[in-house]
Symmetry: C2
Subunit: 182 residues, 2 copies
DNA sequence: ACCGAACAGTTCAGTCACCGAACTTCGGGG
DNA sequence: CCCCGAAGTTCGGTGACTGAACTGTTCGGT
């Protein structure tokens, strides 16, 4: 859908994946989900995305099964489903390519395996334990190439405070009380 | 560039990668490069992409350093640079996600490690030799989910003829004589 | 019960990327 | 010299994305 009008005459899984994910903002919304962002207002503040587009992306991702919309006591929450979780290798690979070729001042984000306290290689491999950790086993922190002057929304501020475990609530306030830690 | 107007207010390597690769058709053009497609007419026939858009994507990818434009004796050739080659993990991961979640009749394409004659896992891992082969060491063939009725351009026909080594000329004719095999 | 604020959207006019078709340019081959 | 194919460019029309304003619902406080 969208962004032109689909790739219906392609018999290729990449084309189908891009029909689901290739519209503007879609992969950045999912990246934020891995960072633990769950609420409309936080996606909006962190991405500077038009509200109408964000609403459409969240609706489309929910309809396709990558996200789940849940009415929580303190607002609406969007959570990654199993389908959405399995996008981690693709998102990580794309980001690593960006780090390698488009980050002249060094890595903007560094990912480490929480169990081993070891930084991941660009392949996603943990050199200490030899495994390929899933997103739930990873920490992110800022690297030397990060530019702290660019953003000051509360999501960026929270991620700047120190290493943060993916998929968990990044906020010190009890925003997601009851679900924090998972 | 393009597709809206960039993600300039994001300090994130994924956002930068998507500025370079996120426009419509860009990743499919690169996929075709991995399949060994090199000439304008073949991209055009295989993708059903508007000529103006294809011209723009090739120019942009060349300017960014992912492709190299070379005037060959029998026409203009577009070849992956080292930067372009390193997109293989990202393209493979996205395609595998599409195979897993958007291919109800099974895999459309199967990749195998040429040295080991072993099919790759979804992670890109070769279970026989334990390595993560680069694109130049891989073969593609059609899987059970492929739909042979959908396309009949000469690129699709060539890929249908049997296992094909990535990055090499898919055509039996001496189109790329002198560069075939690499 | 009333008020205001916050959240999660929807609506809408304007712009720009993409689409498809027609046109141009260049280099052989006959 | 003419014709053809490859590799583009040009151009009018459409629709996705943008930014700003507006709606509706649910809190918390008084």
């Amino acid at each position: 859908m969208g962004l032109g009008r689909g790739y219906s005459r392609q018999d290729c899984s990449l084309a189908h994946a891009l029909e689901a994910l290739g519209e503007r903002w879609t992969l950045l919304v999912l990246r934020d989900c891995f960072y633990g962002v769950r609420q409309f207002k936080d996606f909006q503040a962190h991405l500077d995305i038009p509200r109408a587009v964000l609403a459409d992306r969240l609706k489309t991702l929910t309809a396709r099964g990558a996200l789940e919309r849940r009415e929580h006591s303190n607002g609406v929450h969007y959570l990654l489903t199993e389908q959405g979780m399995e996008l981690w290798p693709a998102i990580f690979s794309l980001a690593q390519w960006g780090e390698r070729w488009l980050s002249p001042h060094g890595s903007r984000r560094v990912f480490s395996h929480a169990d081993c306290d070891t930084d991941l290689e660009a392949t996603g491999h943990c050199p200490t334990c030899g495994a390929f950790p899933g997103p739930g086993e990873l920490l992110v922190r800022e690297g030397p190439g990060a530019d702290p002057t660019l953003r000051d929304d509360r999501v960026s501020a929270a991620l700047r405070r120190g290493p943060h475990r993916l998929l968990t609530n990044p906020f010190p306030e009890p925003d997601y009380a009851g679900t924090a830690g998972v």
